[in-house]
Amino acid sequence: MSSLTSASFGLVAAWVVISAPCRADAQSNSDSRLTRLDATTRVAVAAVVDSARKTRLPTEPLVDKALEGARKGADGERIVAAVRSLFSELRTARVALGAGATSDEINAGANALHAGLPMRNLAQLRSAAQHAGRARVTLPLTVVTDLVARGVPIAVTSDIVLSLVRSGLRDADFGLFQRNVRLDIEHGADAATAAQTRARGAILHGGRSSH
C-alpha cells in the first residue's frame, strides 16, 4: 500500500463516519405529522420548524399551517411560502409582545400582523394591557384580526382595540363587543361605524353593552 493510497483511504473512511450522522440527522428531526407532505416540502418545512425551535418560537402553528395547506390541496411551494411567512410573523410578534408572551399570544399577534397591524401598534397594545392590569392580549388580538377581516380599516381597528384595552375591558366583554359588531355588520351597518359605535358603548358601560 503506498502512502498516498493509505492517506486517501483514511480520509474517505473519516468522511463516511462523520457524514453518516448528518444524513440521519436531516431525516429524523421532523414532526411525524409532516409525513403527509411530499419529501421536498417536508424537508423545507422541517427546516423552518427547526429554526423556530432553536429560537424558542412556538412550532405548533408552523406545523399546523403546513398541515392546513396539505388538507386544502395547496402545492408544496405555496405551503413552504406560507410557513416561512408565518415564521417571520411569529418572530416579529414575539419581539413586539416581549419575552413573556405566551405561545397563544405570539400566534394571535402573528395573525394580527398578517392582517396588517403594524408592529409598533402590537407593542403599544402590550404596553397598554400591562398598564391596565391585563395579563394576556390573546383575545384583543383575535378581535383585531376579526374586525379587519370584516372590513374595518386597520388604523380604526388599532385605535378601537387600544382604547378598549386601556379602558380595562374584560375578555368576556371583548367577546360581546365582537359579537355586537358582527351582528351590526350583518344587518347592513358600515363596518367602521359599527365598530366605533360599539366601542364607545363598551367603554361607557364597561363592556356590558348589548345588541
Partner: protein, 194 residues
C-alpha cells in the same frame, strides 16, 4: 609477481604532511560562503531517505485519528439529535399539558348539506375524526360538540367533503395563504360555547 607488488604499494597507508591539512583547510575557509534565506532553504531540493514501513504506519495512525474524531462527532450529533427529538416531544407534550380540553359546540346552518365536518388545528385538519363530524339536527341545522384544547385555534367547516365554509358566528382569521378563510376560536377555562 609485479601485480602483487603494485597491490601492496597501494595498500600501504599514505603519510600526509601536517602542513598539507592546514593548507587545504585554509583554502576552504577562504572560499565565498553560500547564504540561503528561509524560503530559499525551504525550496531547495533535497534528497530524503525514508524507510518503507514509515508511510504505512503514518497512514494507519491518521486513519485511527480520523475514525476517533468521526466517532466523537457522531456521538455528539446523536446526543443533539436525541435532544431535538425530545424537544419535538416536549413541544407536543407542552401543548397537551397547557391545553386542558373543553367542550365546544360547533353549529352550522346548511340546509342542502349531506355531510358537515369540523377541521382545524385541534384535529390536525384531518376530517376523518368522527368526534368532529356534525349531525343533522333538523331544519338544516348541523352541530357537534367536541373536546377542544384550551388555546387559540383556527378552524373551518367542510361541507360534503369539498366546500370550505367559515363559521358565520365566529371571529375570522385572515388566512389568505391557501385562498380559503378560517374562523378563530379562543378556548379558555370555564365553559366555552360557539
Amino acid at each position: 609477481m609485479w601485480i602483487q607488488r603494485v597491490i601492496a604499494e597501494l595498500r600501504r597507508p599514505v603519510r600526509m604532511d601536517d602542513e598539507f591539512d592546514r593548507n587545504v583547510m585554509s583554502v576552504v575557509r577562504s572560499l565565498p560562503r553560500h547564504r540561503y534565506g528561509t524560503w530559499a532553504r525551504a525550496l531547495r531540493p533535497r534528497t530524503i531517505t525514508v524507510r518503507p514501513l514509515l508511510p504505512s504506519v503514518a497512514a494507519v495512525f491518521l486513519l485511527a485519528v480520523a475514525l476517533s474524531l468521526g466517532h466523537a462527532i457522531g456521538t455528539l450529533r446523536a446526543a443533539r439529535r436525541t435532544r431535538t427529538r425530545s424537544d419535538v416531544a416536549a413541544d407536543r407534550a407542552a401543548s397537551a399539558r397547557v391545553t386542558t380540553r373543553r367542550a365546544v359546540q360547533f353549529v352550522l346552518v346548511a340546509p342542502t348539506a349531506r355531510k358537515v365536518q369540523v377541521v382545524g388545528d385541534f384535529n390536525d385538519w384531518d376530517a376523518s375524526h368522527d368526534e368532529f363530524r356534525a349531525e343533522h339536527r333538523g331544519g338544516g341545522v348541523w352541530s357537534v360538540t367536541a373536546a377542544v384544547p384550551e388555546g387559540n385555534h383556527r378552524y373551518s367547516f367542510v361541507v360534503d367533503d369539498s366546500l370550505w365554509v367559515v363559521d358565520p358566528t365566529a371571529p375570522r382569521v385572515i388566512d389568505d395563504n391557501y385562498g380559503m378563510p378560517n374562523s378563530a376560536l379562543l378556548v379558555e377555562g370555564g365553559d366555552a360555547g360557539r
